[in-house]
């Protein structure tokens, strides 16, 4: 049976088409529900194996990126999402979806660490291709140390930790740092433009200790063909197959009874 993805929709979601396309290419069936529908019928979450929140500017990011949708998710869907996770399902958020997961307290959920996502150090929206280095915590999805090229396109992608470096150590200890921005040689790098947000310790994505709640700032769903790479597949940005490999790996994390 194909994994069933429930894609969340809300006012301001705008990366839904390409995310759906990526999931379908990777072998999933996708249904989309508006948050207003889910608020009235949260039990619809029971019909999926993967719950995904696409990128966008939900509610205009008016009160901070993802803030209001996070509040809605927290208040109306928290129980169903916990249940989905408990029965082996996967939660995924990209860009604004990642901001929602973090602000709803679903990621990284490491005791004692308070964190948020805020404006890039440049205080500007930045759109550019980034190289993401796969850390051990994401080894169940992609080869550790390999590079996942993806498009950064955000203004509020700087991860901030209440206690800075001490919190980085706690995250490292907990094994939740999934992806780091890297330079052309493949080494983790927090310098602009390799790391467009100036985020602490070059962190680009987080994963829960279960390995099944995952979020990242850049968009792997925009990397589904060599034609779309900055050098059109000449090699400096991979082969154009890394994005699809990521989504296949992501779908494979879901271990709900219905997929057994």
């Amino acid at each position: 049976m194909k994994p069933r993805v429930l894609q969340l929709f809300a006012s301001g979601v705008n990366c839904d088409r390409e995310l759906r396309f990526a999931f379908e290419q990777a072998g999933a069936t996708v249904v989309e529900h508006h948050i207003s529908t889910l608020m009235a019928q949260p039990e619809l979450v029971r019909d999926c194996d993967v719950f995904a929140i696409p990128g966008g500017f939900t509610y205009g990011d008016d009160l901070g990126a993802g803030r209001v949708l996070a509040l809605e998710v927290e208040r109306f869907l928290a129980d169903e999402l916990q249940a989905l996770h408990h029965r082996g399902g996967t939660l995924f958020g990209v860009c604004n979806g990642f901001q929602v997961l973090v602000k709803a307290g679903l990621l990284p959920n490491v005791h004692g660490v308070r964190l948020s996502l805020t404006w890039n150090t440049s205080h500007r929206f930045e759109c550019r291709w980034s190289r993401l280095k796969v850390e051990e915590a994401l080894g169940h999805i992609l080869p550790v140390g390999s590079i996942l090229p993806a498009v950064s396109a955000h203004a509020e992608g700087q991860l901030v930790l209440a206690e800075g470096a001490a919190d980085v150590a706690r995250l490292e200890q907990a094994g939740v740092i999934a992806l780091r921005y890297a330079d052309a040689s493949g080494e983790a790098c927090a310098d602009f433009p390799h790391c467009p947000s100036g985020t602490i310790d070059a962190i680009a994505g987080l994963v829960s200790t279960s390995g099944r709640i995952l979020g990242l700032m850049p968009h792997p769903e925009r990397n589904l063909s060599a034609q779309h790479l900055p050098d059109r597949g000449a090699g400096a940005w991979g082969t154009g197959e890394e994005g699809l490999a990521f989504f296949r790996g992501l779908l494979a994390t879901a271990k709900t009874p219905s997929l057994a």
Binding site: S11, G60, H228, D231
Partner: protein, 969 residues
């Protein structure tokens, strides 16, 4: 009177960076206010005074503030803020939209707080700037008013002054008001037009007077407003569609030619489209956008708009609503198209201008550019539409009257291209509410700007709310796919009056104005009718679909209203609670405007040859050319736009491994499951058009075509869009160059087989100071959209492979008037280049075939700065590759041209093509007798080296090119 409120003020917590505060400090310092300590930026919110402190604290901490990043300050309703004397508050004026507040109101409902019902908690948002050290409050206020606020839409105060909710907007009486036209003489008629901001001429007022005399009654205010909107230059294009007598003068001022047009646009631009009428054109000049075929079943719609005068007053809001408006044009094409690309072109004054040199009442060009870029960025990014093509031009002629062009492209199934409202259909509106914003925008844009524009025309400025528009988009596309609409259009200039008036033109319509949902009470019926409040669409639906549409709107949290219904009486009837306030026959509304013949005079273009310099420092000149504002890197702007959203940006605006190489056209793949795509390009040549409007327009068309062909678009399926931005064409000299531009459009379209499918004019781009009038340069923006059959058959401008040959295709000629070099060396007016319509179509076809068959590895068109700049740009994006070129290898007699001309001439219809040696024969067979030559090859040097038959001319490394071009780090 303000109403008391709690203040919640949030600042970056201590130790966190505050780039907004730092930027504000710099802006104040530029205005002459130097602060000793830091300036802290903050976000402020007003909450109802009736709330308990505990409730306010919960809202502040759980919703408004970021717990990790921000610190919270609560100020009780009657409390004076301790730091108020050193805090500058910037808030929106009463009636200006406040999307943050709307979102906050909604979100507060989610907190489940005692005593607060859903969607009931009033909120207002503002910004604050707190100086850490004591400061002279008056000085802070003075500097801050200009440096940190836009006085057109914002007001400033100090933090220790009372701050509460705005008082309710003033109420205007809702009464049926008659204007006694029958008693008025000509002077009174003109005075009435001015007093009501109708922008109607005396002849037009007389036509209106005669109509009411025949009808045997007086006009009502709402009828006059309706006529003024519908007859405005903005909506009716009276100049371009009216009769004109054109005279061409020679250098002595003697008339050499004379011709008449009864409808200039119809006999030039439209005429070419009609004569060409290719079967791949599905909808031309009859809808909100033109539509051409991409596949058999899927079309692509394109429209480019201007938003010049609003952007002059409020660059951020003006550009944002410009892009918002053109997106609605695409949504309102056929039964709805899905936007997948946006374009923007800005024309502003020179960089670094002194405030003192600015005409009174105008903003500095740099501030205008910052504002318009921000407006497009924040609107386009939130909509999820990639902004992928455009440019920035700087010229002194745009200082007081900047130009902002915004374009949008959408995808539409063929079966949804046609639409027609039917009698009995309901008129529904959905999206944003109606307020006083944008009253008289259509008539305002039809007048010249002047010193007091910023104070008296503030109501013409509209503030955008992209998320409301995104919700409208979501509803509209779902409703279209459920076949709920019989017609749909956007509310643009003229608001409901234009939308309903146009949809009901052939059948008639009845509207109950009291049913429109308002942002605040107190609007007069005529204000509701012509308000240009943003983010509203109007549709015709069968009454049986009302429930289904309502349900869709409920899901997406969009407000739906039935305004009235379409009828079969060919009248427009406007009611207020049942009483008829307006009743006009559609025939007079749409056909009654008088069209007097206008005069147009064109002076002779310069005949003298360009004085190319004989001795010059080639390397320095190339570096200067690379840094010229028209050539300099726009990457810093492009990276602020999400030009990759939707995942279909194949040929990108900036290219190569590091993304620094400037592209020509961009190629988008609107459907990831299909190989087809579209190439987009823009051409604009005001510096040539200033000398010769025909040649400047022809060069703009050629440039747009070069852009799309170089990227891989098919010249056989290219549609063009015109945007004429001119001075006041009631003056014969302005109109003369416009006639020549329209003639160039006809000639170009016919020669290239590329029809214009949509367009827009913005005339009256003049600025008046006292009696002096400053028109902008004649500016035609030509946007090209070409079909790409397979996005894999497209190329970048970036060098690909060591050992490949570099070919120059097309003729280089000696006309250098209007060129970058002419400006850099101050060569003065001289002969200008102009494309040859005889040879260019074959050349475009051959280059396209070369790309399609895979003979071409990289392609770049030659534009501003000519061959040397184009070659440097190909090196710029390359991964360590370089070029060695020999200018003695130019085809035929061209190697006899002065060296400076060979390096910098901007002759049109030329390309540099990178072709592998083994493919050169194949390519040559395509070129037949067309002009081309191999002038060098790709090497691994990472630099551009140019020689002239053995004599070294210049050598420039990739990093030096990047530096000269202003490539961001």
């Amino acid at each position: 009177m303000q109403r008391q409120a709690w203040r919640v003020e949030l600042e970056p917590a201590s130790g966190r960076s505050d780039p907004l505060g730092e930027a504000a400090l710099k802006s104040l310092s530029a205005r002459g206010l130097a602060l000793n300590g830091p300036l802290h930026s903050g976000r402020g919110f007003l909450l109802p005074a009736s709330l308990e402190r505990e409730t306010v604290a919960t809202i502040a901490n759980r919703l408004l503030a970021d717990a990790v990043n921000e610190s919270v300050r609560l100020i009780a309703p009657e409390q004076i803020a301790e730091t108020g004397a050193q805090t500058l508050i910037v808030r929106r004026m009463s009636g200006v939209s406040d999307p943050e507040a709307q979102t906050a109101t909604r979100a507060i409902g989610l907190l489940d707080l005692p005593g607060i019902a859903i969607d009931s908690c009033q909120v207002e948002s503002y910004r604050c700037y707190r100086a850490e050290d004591a400061v002279d409050g008056e000085a802070l206020l003075q500097a801050g008013q200009r440096a940190l606020a836009n006085p057109v839409i914002e007001e400033t105060q100090l933090g220790n002054a009372p701050l509460g909710f705005h008082a309710d907007a003033p109420s205007r009486p809702a009464e049926r008001r008659e204007l006694p036209l029958s008693t008025m003489d000509d002077a009174t008629l003109q005075q009435l037009s001015a007093d009501m901001s109708l922008a109607l001429t005396l002849e037009e007022m007389q036509a209106v007077q005669a109509f009411y005399a025949d009808a045997g009654r007086e006009a009502t205010d709402i009828e006059l407003e309706t006529l003024a909107q519908t007859w405005s230059e903005h909506c009716k294009h009276k100049t371009l569609t009216g009769p004109v007598l054109f005279r061409q003068l020679d250098e002595q001022g003697q008339e050499t030619e004379r011709r008449e047009y009864s409808n200039l646009l119809k006999e030039t631009v439209f005429a070419a489209t009609q004569k060409l009428s290719p079967d791949w054109c599905w909808s031309v000049f009859r809808d909100n956008a033109g539509v051409i075929a991409m596949t058999e079943d899927i079309g692509v719609a394109i429209k480019v708009e201007t938003h010049n005068h609003p952007s002059a007053l409020d660059p951020y809001g003006g550009a944002g609503t410009g892009i918002g408006g053109v997106i609605r044009d695409i949504l309102g094409t056929g039964l709805g198209a899905r936007p997948f690309a946006a374009t923007d072109v800005f024309c502003v004054g020179p960089a670094g201008m002194d405030e003192a040199d600015l005409p009174p009442g105008t903003m500095s060009p740099d501030r205008i550019l910052d504002g318009v870029v921000g407006g497009v960025r924040d609107y386009g990014n939130r909509m999820g539409i990639p902004t992928v093509a455009g440019t920035v031009l700087r010229h002194p002629g745009y200082v007081a009257n900047p130009l902002v062009f915004a374009g949008c492209v959408g995808e539409i199934p063929r079966k949804y291209v046609d639409k027609a409202a039917r009698p009995g259909d309901l008129i529904v509106a959905f999206g944003g509410r109606t307020g006083r914003d944008g009253i008289h925008g259509a008539t305002f844009s039809s007048e010249a700007l002047h010193e007091e524009s910023e104070t008296i025309d503030a109501a013409a400025v509209q503030i955008g709310d992209p998320i409301t528009e995104k919700k409208v988009l979501d509803v509209l596309l779902e409703a279209r796919d459920a076949d709920l609409f019989t017609s749909v259009t956007d509310c643009g200039a003229g608001g409901f009056s234009s939308a309903v008036g146009e949809m009901g033109e052939d059948i008639g319509a009845e509207v109950d104005l009291e049913s429109a949902p308002l942002k605040y009470p107190g609007l007069a019926p005529w204000e509701i009718w012509i308000s240009e409040a943003q983010e509203r669409m109007v549709a015709a639906i069968d009454p049986k679909h009302r429930g289904a549409l309502q349900q869709l709107c409920d899901t997406h949290d969009v407000e739906l209203t039935v305004l009235g219904h379409f009828a079969d009486h060919q009248r427009l009837i406007l009611r207020w609670h049942g009483e008829v306030f307006g009743d006009l026959p559609m025939s007079f509304l749409h056909g009654g405007v008088p069209q007097p013949q206008r005069e147009a005079i064109n002076s002779a273009p310069p005949q003298n040859a360009t004085a190319w310099p004989e001795s010059f420092h080639a390397k320095e000149l190339l570096e200067q050319a690379l840094g010229h504002p028209s050539v300099a890197s726009k990457e810093a702007i492009v990276r602020q736009y999400d030009h990759e959203v939707q995942g279909g940006t194949v040929v990108k605006p900036y290219q190569g491994a590091e993304g620094h190489g400037p592209g020509d056209g961009t190629v988008l793949q609107p459907r990831l499951d299909l190989p087809q795509g579209v190439a987009l390009g823009c051409g604009i040549s005001p510096s040539i058009a200033l000398l010769d409007a025909y040649a400047g327009t022809a060069c703009a068309i050629d440039e747009a075509m070069r852009n799309v062909v170089a990227a891989g678009g098919s010249p056989h399926r290219t549609a063009l869009i015109d945007n004429f931005c001119w001075g006041d064409c009631r003056k014969p000299d302005r109109f003369g160059s416009l006639v020549r531009a329209a003639e160039a459009c006809y000639d170009g379209a016919m020669a290239l087989g590329a029809p214009f499918i949509s367009g827009k004019d913005s005339l009256n781009n003049e600025y008046r100071v006292g009696d002096e009038e400053f028109p902008i340069p004649p500016t035609l923006l030509c946007t090209a959209m070409a079909i790409v059959d397979d996005v894999a058959q497209t190329v970048d401008t970036t060098l690909q492979q060591e050992g490949n040959l570099l070919l120059l295709v097309g003729n280089t000629t000696a006309e250098g008037g209007g060129s970058v070099l002419s400006e850099l060396l101050d060569l003065g007016p001289s002969q200008v280049p102009c494309p040859s319509w005889e040879t260019s179509p074959a050349l475009f076809a051959a280059v396209h075939e070369g790309i399609r068959q895979g003979y071409v590895a990289a392609a770049h068109d030659l534009s501003e700065g000519g061959l040397s700049v184009a070659a440097a740009e190909m090196v710029l994006g390359a991964n360590g590759l370089g070029l060695e070129l020999d200018l003695a290898q130019l085809p035929g007699q061209e190697n006899q041209l002065p060296l400076a001309a060979r390096l910098f001439s901007e002759s049109p219809t030329r390309f540099l093509l990178e072709v592998p040696r083994e493919k050169i024969d194949g390519f040559a067979s395509l070129m037949r007798t067309l002009p081309w030559a191999s002038i060098g090859q790709v090497n691994a040097s990472g630099q551009l080296s140019i020689q002239d038959g053995g004599t070294a001319v210049l050598s420039l490394s990739q990093s030096a090119i990047a530096r000269a071009n202003g490539v961001p780090a």
